[in-house]
Amino acid sequence: MSKVNLLDRRAVVSGLLANRKDAIVVGGLGASTYDMAAAGDHDRNFYLWGAMGGAVMIGLGVALAQPNLPVVVITGDGEMLMGMGSLATVGLQKPANLTIVVLDNESYGETGGQVSHTAATADLVGVARACGISDTRAMTTMAEVEAFAPALQDVASGPRFASVKIDGANLERVLSSRDANYIVNRIRGALGFQPI
């Protein structure tokens, strides 16, 4: 099932978040959210169980509201394809504290592994760059992922966009909370905001 030389998604996400500090992390619906949960629950984890195509925009909203905090969006290729316009919106706003990481397995893993556009023709790194995000990269090794991880803390020179080719293995789901009200209020509480 797994191709050789493609990275393990859980290792990638754990590696990126190992030293996350105060970062707020948004996970796209499906496997990206499970990967975040597998890396360890955190009160600044913004798990999504829906809102397909909205992960980058949710990250942008947080990033604009909290310009001194690192904000990281971790999502899949299918979710990113649905919200491709949001890369143009990010390119225009240029939030210096926002990093977008796409875990690209070239398929819709949650729905049966149907191939996505990135398997053949779509180049998300090229799209991000063409939308005005100048710090873009495609990563294929864990060494590159580990070298990139400290950049997530940088709130002065984003936005950044990275695509990581991962293998298509369907891993056991690690379920986070799916109560959106709890998730958002936990983040707000961690930032010092009170319930209404």
Partner: protein, 193 residues
């Protein structure tokens, strides 16, 4: 033949109309003041002629961030993120954009965040373009089916009161609210001279 006799009346009528139009022009300014008062910080929008004056005020503001979108659903997601980060926002769009938002409007129910959108209406009052009519006709129902409370302003003098009520229930009671700004208020778009 009526020229001289009617001249003063015409002038008076034209003055009255100028006054009415000055008053009509002030409602976007009234909306801007309300948004300022409620500490609205993020203003995502897809442009509409009816919102152009308000958008210009937002883009010139030092406290608000205008965020142009490629499609309206981006704005719903942006405002959910803004709320998590401690800021209030408002989504500006045209009635046709409401249809683009439907799935993302789920966020307003499951996050129970203070969602406010101001929707300029097309396809309901002297419309020229038939392509605007289907979505304009279903805008209110679509919003209500999506769990959004709908208020409407049709006359310049009621805009302040209605937008204020919408802002109060959205921001104070976390009640997702849309204020429809009627095409009657904005005026039909003129395509032919």
């Amino acid at each position: 033949m009526h020229a001289r006799a009617d001249a003063p009346q015409e002038q008076a009528a034209s003055q009255a109309s100028a006054q009415a139009s000055a008053q009509a022009d002030s409602w976007p300014e009234e909306i801007f003041s309300i948004l300022q008062r409620f500490d609205v910080r993020q203003v995502p929008y897809v442009p509409d002629a009816g919102h152009s004056e308000l958008i210009n005020r937002v883009l010139g503001s030092s406290t608000m961030r205008g965020v142009p979108l490629t499609t309206e659903e981006e704005g719903v997601a942006l405002l959910a993120g803004a709320w998590a980060g401690g800021q209030r926002g408002v989504l500006l769009m045209q009635s046709s954009g409401v249809g683009n938002c439907i799935n993302m409007l789920s966020l307003t129910q499951i996050f129970r965040f203070p969602f406010l959108t101001l929707v300029t209406m097309r396809g309901e009052w002297g419309e020229f373009n038939p392509w605007q009519v289907p979505m304009g006709s279903s805008t209110q129902a679509v919003l209500e089916l999506s769990g959004i409370r709908v208020l409407r302003a049709s006359h310049p003098q009621e805009v302040r009161e209605v937008v204020e009520a919408g802002a109060m229930q959205a921001y104070n009671a976390c009640t997702p609210t849309a204020v429809l700004l009627s095409q009657r208020l904005i005026g039909s778009k003129v395509f032919v001279k």
